[in-house]
Symmetry: none
Subunit: 197 residues, 4 copies
């Protein structure tokens, strides 16, 4: 009767819970989502939930870590690219695409409001850090290649790129006439304007 643990099944169920949480957090916010609601959405019992995640917060951290990892992977895959500016623009497209999952925008809003929780702030800081660390070298290389302005530091330019990107995501979340797909070209144009010499 050796009831062996099936890691694949375990991971699959973990993802079901994460997916359910994404839906709930996006719809009602982090604090506004009860673990009971997540369980309902995931089709599991409350006891099961805590088999997979020791706390509600740990689930949020897992989701964040998941996103951070994805960002890391995305930049790792471009390690050998040649055209710096093209990588930057590709990241914009990638982000716009991710936002085509309509839950993402709500999730971003929801997460940004979890304040005063050191672990969450740390996870968000790490996420930002990874993104900056992924982006800044390409910006610096683009500066060296004469593709972008040099009157601002690479760090500042990166920060302003993220300003535009975060503003874009927030707008998509709030303004139903402002869609990620419809504005993708303008997004590229705006970023080029911000970076150009």
């Amino acid at each position: 009767m050796a009831r062996t643990i099936d890691p694949a099944k375990h991971e699959a169920r973990r993802l079901v819970i994460i997916d359910a949480a994404l839906t709930c957090f996006a719809a009602t916010g982090y604090a506004g989502t009860s673990t009971a609601a997540i369980c309902r959405q995931a089709g599991i019992g409350s006891g099961t939930f805590f088999h997979y995640f020791p706390t509600k917060q740990s689930l949020l951290l897992a989701i964040l870590a998941y996103g951070t990892e994805e960002t890391r992977d995305w930049f790792a895959a471009r390690a050998d690219d040649e055209d710096p500016l093209a990588v930057v623009v590709a990241y914009l497209d990638h982000t716009a695409e991710e936002m085509s999952d309509p839950r993402m925008a709500g999730f971003v809003r929801a997460v940004s409001a979890v304040m005063g929780e050191p672990d969450v702030e740390a996870a968000l800081a790490l996420d930002t850090r990874v993104l900056e660390d992924g982006l800044e070298p390409w910006i610096a290389r683009a500066q060296a290649a004469g593709q972008v302005r040099t009157d601002l530091s690479a760090r500042d330019l990166t920060a302003w790129m993220l300003v535009v990107l975060d503003g874009f995501l927030g707008r998509v979340a709030v303004d139903t006439d402002f869609t990620a797909e419809g504005q993708r070209d303008t997004l590229r144009d705006v970023v080029r304007r911000v970076l150009s010499r």
Copy 2:
């Protein structure tokens, strides 16, 4: 006689509570702030709180209405200005100045994540509406005057200005190296780039 109400004193205490709430919401978010915490911060008893605001949510709505009114006033005061682009830039400066209260950025984050509360969503929608209605005519006039590009509609340009502005506010809230004052000139530059023909 026996007119006990001193309207000035009443209003003053109202503002003390609003100020305390601003501090708390900015630090721990709306849901993460208990009315007890606000009372502690304001130095009042729990009963007094509900003497001034019937619910926790009504306090939030009062703050939002306050901000909306300020925006309305700001644009009303510029009704007779001549240079459209100058008004737009002045609004950027005004916003950056408001953000010099370090709590404002956190408050914006906190509020933007109150989801599922129809009254709050309505108040936020109104706030956005008032801002758009204030800004868009000036952008349109700037287009007519040949000061800004015309390949995008005034509405789209307004939306993109708000993208930059909201992104800017979010960044200030998150990145301690990125201050409203230090980046004010770059903010102006970025917006000019986005708008220029």
Copy 3:
């Protein structure tokens, strides 16, 4: 400027509060009525309320005492009557008449639910006592005069009269088709049947 207390004015205002309380208690019950609601109904400030009654409960006790006193007076006025059974029937009519104030029925229900408050229970017990002490001698006299049955004690007959009376009041409070006026004759008939030999 000798601001002398005007006892008449004081008493008048006391009665205004009592009347307001009667209305409120009848409509929403004792616990369901806030002192604020009574003040609103009476057109006074909350501070004034506590000038006239030290506690909410003391107001209830005052009303009860008022009713008890009225009962006492009613029987005192009949002290020299000749026909015992006529007095009993007259009391039934008197009660039915009091119930034509539609608030009375609700008030009776409201008061009967204030349980566990020793002072209120004592006041209610006294009220019952005064009524029993008023009624029982007449019943006993009616027995002696051969007007009513003697197979039950005067005490028991009195208790059963109150059973009918209280049941009558409760029914009036609950059944809108069952009015004090419309059923007055039947009330007399029923009591006669209960008492007759």
Copy 4:
């Protein structure tokens, strides 16, 4: 497997809570009873309470529904009886017996004073309705059989039976010398007198 629910155990605990509530409501009234008091009496935590009943009011409604159901069952079981008056008298005995649980009388008082709660009023109205619908046909049949007076309508006679019954219950609650058992015979006699031609 993993079917944790033991319906019997669940129902048993539900009854423990209902029993505790009956005790508390009878002693201190509905409004005067805190959910905490019920939990203490039932030996459960506050969370458990709301696991079984979503609100304090729903518990009251459950108890009322329980009583209504019992009344319905009682009359359903007599559907084929022959002697109408005997059924009526049997119901009196049945009620007197129920009142031998000394809490019942207090509970009736407590409940009759829950005012302004539409759901409770509806439940009480239904309870009354079921009782009337159970009783009135038997009274009408007794009239047809010449067992009771016909100068009043069956509806009025039913109302007056309930007057006596409610008055009886109220008296039992208030007068410690007046017990349900001791007065059972007189109750029968009084009702016969009210109904007789």
